[in-house]
Amino acid sequence: MSGFRLLDIVKFFLPLLPEVEFPDEQISFDERVVFTIASGILFLFGQLPIYGLVANAQFKIEDPFFNFRSIFAMEKGTLLELGLLPVITSAFLWQLAAGLRLINVNLGLRSDRELYQTGQKLTSFVLSFVYAAGFIYSGYFDSAIRGYDPISDSTPYGWYVFIFVQISTWSIFVTLLIEIFDKGYAFGSGILCFLTLQTATRFIAEFLGIEIYPVANSNKSESYGAFINFTRNLSFNLNSLASNVLNSFSRLNLPNLTQFYVTLLSILAVIYFQNCRIELPIRSTKVRGMNNVYPIRLLYTGALPILFAYTILINLQIFGYFVYVTLQNTKTSSFIISLLAKFKLDSYSNNLGLTSGFLYYFTNSTSLFNTLLSPIRTVVYASTVIVLSSWFADKWSYMSGSAPKDISKTFKEQGISISGKRDISITKELGRVIPVAAVSGAFILAALAISGDLLGGLGKGASAVIGVSSAFGVLEEFMMEYQQTGGNSQFTQAFGGL
């Protein structure tokens, strides 16, 4: 072992970090349902507007991250401003670093595992401070702070502190809520459960939301839900009909129907692909005539490859934006800045859209028209997502504990063998199927997410892909637990007749 390890830094913070206790006894099925629902509702409460911003701040904030925010549950102008981004980023950082042996950690040791886990938590806290400070530094909230005029007033440090405390504290709470899930108090993994919840609630709200909001920089107002807005504007005046239909499919300030259809199609496609699998015939080595099948799913790594690809992209965008603002503040020559990025404010939606520069090539487009107009960006963006997710799927299928080697080990323990194959060649046989399934599954999902993006889904398609396949994972765990309780649950007895 070398003299210095990254984990030793973590040790210093160990007594300071909150740690959810492990359950003393087996958590009952009912308790897990209650914990799941309670934490889910609490998570959604995070959509409370930040104190210190003006009313309807989400339309006034000039938003450079609108392309990807829906994937990470980043709600503009609310406590969930950072969403799940810090946790997801830190999780991928640590788990890939361990899996690719970039850090010195022996996960076979319990003490190292504890430090490794605390390291993930610490990183997620630190990242949320960094993001929150970066957002404030870059003047992200400036156009929405209550009673503050960026031109005439001095810097509103008081409000900055208020905003920083609110979003970073809520980010810490989200991390702890995720820990409640992961420690076995609730179903599934916290991150995926929250992503599913967010996607599901957003999907309905964006279709049927009846709130009416004023359109920025105009005297009109529109409904939140895409469908409600469409029907509200429906008239039999032929002149306005065409423009109203076009508007409900292409508006960017509020959800539009294109995003809805992209989401819907992605959901259906993922449900279809979820059922694709290869069934390897297995037999028992102990009992004669015991035959069964061992399914290997096409989506072997689920939605994690897509999530990884988008995590990289959004971090690139966020830190790129921070660098962009820093360069501007330090009065660097505008040529260098324009190589990095060039933003243009859309006055209707207050989105800071990229128009050129390095960062531009790693964003999705707002409509099919824009996609066709900039083919280089389309190709670069699509290939980035596909390469990142395929690479991740390949690595992840080997290091997630469901690698061919691990499965053949469990086969051996349980006295199972693949029919017509010798015990030794099980690993080889599985190694022929699993990586291929993982990579092609990730490729299909990435292609699905990208095609949604190219049609103007603005990450909604990708978030639907992630949400649905996560929901399947959570549901699987739920059903397994349910069957093990043998229907011995108060909830089943109460709702059984429904």
Binding site: L14, L16, L17, P18, E19, V20, E21, S39, F45, G46, L48, I50, Y51, L79, V87, A91, Q95, A98, G99, R101, N106, L107, G108, R113, E114, Y116, Q117, T118, Q120, K121, R146, Q166, T169, F173, L176, L177, I178, E179, I180, D182, K183, G184, G188, S189, G190, I191, L192, L299, Y300, T301, G302, L304, M399, S400, G401, S402, D406, A438, S469, G473
Partner: protein, 91 residues
């Protein structure tokens, strides 16, 4: 069979080949686990992203305490909003 170069029935013919396969086997057997799940503990599986599955030292809190603190935080923000509304009415 005391000599290491003795040929096992059905095994590889040359001693060099036998040594490399034995080395490979030893290496893969002694390799450190790549993730917490392959180490035999809980953690991320192929489709699930799990972070906190180990009982670590630290400031122990009950999950209910976390939930109540989160509710408390939400309420404090709501109260700030309400105060802002009320004071805004009078000034």
């Amino acid at each position: 069979m005391s000599s290491s170069s003795a040929q096992a029935p059905g095994g590889l013919r040359s001693a060099v080949k036998r040594k490399t396969t034995a080395d490979k086997k030893a290496q893969s057997g002694n390799a450190l686990p790549l993730s917490t799940r392959s180490a035999g503990a809980g953690g991320s599986s192929s489709t699930m992203m799990k972070l906190f599955t180990e009982e670590a030292q630290g400031l122990r809190v009950d999950p209910l305490v976390v939930l109540f603190l989160a509710v408390g935080f939400i309420f404090s923000v709501i109260i700030l909003h309400v105060f802002a509304k009320i004071t805004g009415k009078f000034t």
